[in-house]
Amino acid sequence: MSVLINQETKVIVQGITGREGQFHTEQMLAYGTKVVAGVTPGKGGQEVHGVPVFHTVREAMEHTRADASVLFVPARFVKNSATEAIEAGVPLVVTIAEHVPVQDMMYCRRLARDRGVQLVGPNSFGIISPGKCKIGFMAHRIFSPGHVGIMSRSATNCYETVFMLTQKGIGQSTCVGVGGDMIPGSTFIDILPELNADENTKVIVLIGEIGGNEEELAAEYIKRHVKKPVVAVITGKNAPKGRSMGHAGAIVSADGTGSAQKKESALREAGVHIAESTRHIAEILLNLREEYEL
C-alpha cells in the first residue's frame, strides 16, 4: 500500500514534448512510473521515450483511463492545463511550476473541489512513493521505501529531512509536496486522511511554515482522527514580516492566525511532536524507530 500513487498508477504528462517534460518523463519511466500518455496541443501522434502523445487530455483519457496527470508546463499555462485535466476527469492532478499567478490557482482549486479532483501543487516537487512510483521532479535517489509518510510545504526542507532519514536507514511510505504557494490545490488536511488510513504509514511528518492556517486545520484533524504519531516542524519563525502596506493583513492576522507560535501550540495541543529543525525531526524519528518498526 501507499498513498495517492503506487506501482499501478497510470500517469499522463502534460507538456511532454517540452525540455522539462521530456527529461522528467525519462526520469519517471526509469524510476518505474507508468507514464501512459503525454499531451501537447498540436503534437498528437508523436512519441516521447515510447510514450504516445495526444493533442488533448480528453483523448489521452479515452485511450488510457489514466489515474493522474502531472503538468510540466510553464507557470502561465498552468491554469489552462490544470482546467483541462480537471474537466477531462483526471482524478489526481499534480502541478510543479512555481510563480503561478495566485488567482489562477484560486480558480483551479475552486474547480477541483467542485469536481472532486485531487489537485496537488503548484510550486511542488510532486509525489513519490519510494520504490514504486514518482510523479514530479524530485531527486529520487535520496528517498527509500519505508513507513514514514511526509507532507511538506517546502521542497528543500523535505529533501533535507528525507536525506537524513535515508542516511539513518528510515524509509518513507509516501512523500507529498503540497507546495509553498499562497493557494495550494491540496493542503495538509487533504492528505492527512490518506496517510492516516494507509497501513504502510506508521508515522506522519508534517513540514509546515508560517502563514495561512493549514497547520491549525491539520492540528484539529489530528486531534480528532489520528492515532499514529505525528512529528511537525514550523519554519519561518524569524522570516521577515510581510511589510504589508494595507491594514487588511493586520486585520486578518489580528488573532494571531499564521504565526509560528499559534501553529506550534495548536499542534502541540493535538499531541504532535514539535521539532525545532529538520534535523530534529530525524532525531525524534530515531527515538520512535523501535516502537514503530521504522
Partner: protein
C-alpha cells in the same frame, strides 16, 4: 508589488470608483505644470507618495488653503527624504466634506483561499486597533469566484453594520468595481481606507487607496511590470531580479547573508541563525537550476550588501548540480570577496564529490560544512569575527 497611493487612485478612476478630484506631480515639476490647476477647489491636500505608513506624522501630508500654499508644499515635498524614502511624486486632491469614514478591502484570503471582502462602518486610522479590541465591528465575507459580488452581499454588509439601505446602490457599485479591479489587475489586496461618506448628498468616495499586485502575474500586467522598473526600490532587489533571483531583506542590519535554492531552506537557516542570537540582514533565493555564472553573481550581490561579513550558502541540489555551484562559488570568492569577509558552503546532491573537490584547498575565506547545522555551527564558532 505594492502600488503607491497615486497609482491606486488612478486605478480607482479607471474603474469608476469615486475619488476626489486629484492630480499627480513628479519630481522636477511644479504646481503650475498641472493642466487645469486653476480649476481646483481649495483647500487641497498635498500628499507625499512613499511606500511607508506614518507619513502624516512625519509631515508628508499637508493642507493648502491657497494656490500659493500648494506651490510651496509641492516644492517642499518633492525630492525630499521622508522616513527613509525619497519623495518622487506628490498627490494633490481636493479636500472632502467627510461625514463618516468606513473601511473596505478585498483581499485574497489565505484561509478561505478565495477573495474576501472586509468591511467596517468605523474606518480611518484606528482600524487595526478596532480589529484587536472590537473584532465584531469588522465584517469578513468570502466571495465565491463562481458567484461574484451580488446585491445581497452588500445588503448583508449594511444590515450587519447597522447602516441604512440608503447606501445600497452606491456601495454595491463600489464593491463590484473594486472586485473587477481586483480580478483584472491580478491584485492580492485592494483597500480603501477611509471610504468616506461625503457632503449633504452622502456620496461614497474613496479617500485613500492601497493595491498590491501579484508578482507572479506581472507578465500579463504590463503596465505594472513597466512601472516597477522605475519605482524606488532597493537596488539589491532589482539587481537580483535581473538574474531571476529573489532578494529578501530580513533585518535592518546584520553581519550574515544566506543563500539557498528554495525559500523553505532559507527560512530554516534564518531560524537556526536567529536562535543563536546572530542577525541576518538578507537572504537570496536562487530557485531551481542555477548555473555557475549566475551563482557567482548571486554571491557577489550578497557580499556587497552593507555590513555583511559572512555569506552562508546551503544548496540541496535536485536539479542544481554541485559542480556548477562550486564553480560559481570559487569564481565569486576569487573576484568579489572583500576584506574580512568569508563564505560558508554546504552542498548536497548531484555531483557532490566533484564539487567538494573543486573547493578544497581554498584559504580560510571558504569553509565547508556537511549539513545545515554544521554550517551554522561554523558561523557560531566565528562569532568574534562578525
Amino acid at each position: 508589488m505594492k502600488l503607491l497611493e497615486y497609482q491606486a487612485i488612478s486605478l480607482f478612476n479607471q474603474y469608476q470608483i469615486p475619488t476626489m478630484k486629484s492630480a499627480v506631480l513628479s519630481h522636477g515639476e511644479c504646481f503650475d505644470d498641472i493642466a487645469g490647476a486653476e480649476d481646483f477647489r481649495f483647500p487641497l491636500v498635498v500628499k507625499a507618495q512613499i511606500a511607508s505608513g506614518g507619513r502624516g506624522k512625519a509631515g508628508g501630508i499637508r493642507f493648502a488653503q491657497t494656490m500659493k500654499d500648494a506651490r510651496k508644499h509641492c516644492r517642499d515635498l518633492l525630492g525630499r527624504e521622508l522616513l527613509g524614502y525619497t519623495v518622487y511624486q506628490v498627490l494633490l486632491t481636493e479636500k472632502a466634506d467627510v461625514r463618516s469614514e468606513w473601511y473596505l478591502s478585498i483581499i485574497l484570503d489565505r484561509v478561505d483561499k478565495c477573495p474576501m471582502i472586509i468591511f467596517s462602518p468605523e474606518g480611518g486610522m484606528d482600524i487595526e486597533e478596532l480589529a484587536r479590541t472590537q473584532p465584531q465591528k469588522i465584517l469578513r465575507l468570502p466571495i465565491d469566484p463562481f458567484i461574484g459580488v451580488q446585491p445581497y452581499t452588500v445588503s448583508y454588509l449594511l444590515a450587519k453594520s447597522g447602516l441604512s439601505p440608503f447606501y445600497q446602490d452606491e456601495l454595491y457599485k463600489v464593491i463590484c468595481r473594486l472586485y473587477q479591479l481586483f480580478l483584472q489587475q491580478d491584485a492580492l489586496l485592494t483597500e480603501i481606507n477611509p471610504l468616506a461618506v461625503c457632503g449633504d448628498d452622502e456620496r461614497i468616495i474613496a479617500l485613500d487607496g492601497k493595491v498590491e499586485i501579484d508578482d507572479s502575474a506581472l507578465y500579463r500586467q504590463k503596465v505594472w511590470l513597466q512601472a516597477r522598473e522605475v519605482m524606488p526600490e532597493e537596488d539589491f532587489v532589482k539587481e537580483a531580479r535581473a538574474f531571476n533571483f529573489l532578494y529578501i531583506p530580513v533585518e535592518k542590519t546584520g553581519p550574515v547573508a544566506v543563500i539557498s535554492n528554495g525559500s523553505g531552506m532559507l527560512m530554516s537557516c534564518i531560524d537556526l541563525i536567529a536562535k543563536e542570537g546572530i542577525q541576518v540582514s538578507a537572504a537570496l533565493d536562487l530557485g531551481g537550476g542555477a548555473t555557475a555564472d549566475r551563482i557567482s553573481q548571486g554571491l557577489r550581490i550578497m557580499l556587497s550588501t552593507p555590513g555583511v561579513k559572512v555569506v552562508l550558502i546551503n544548496i540541496f541540489g535536485g536539479i542544481t548540480r554541485c559542480d556548477e555551484v562550486a564553480q560559481g562559488v570559487r569564481d565569486a570568492v576569487e573576484n568579489y570577496l572583500g576584506k574580512g569577509q568569508f563564505v560558508i558552503v554546504r552542498m548536497e546532491g548531484t555531483n557532490k564529490e566533484k564539487g567538494v573537490a573543486m573547493l578544497e584547498g581554498m584559504d580560510n575565506s571558504l569553509l565547508m560544512a556537511e549539513d545545515i547545522r554544521q554550517s551554522v555551527d561554523l558561523l557560531v564558532e566565528r562569532r568574534d569575527l562578525l
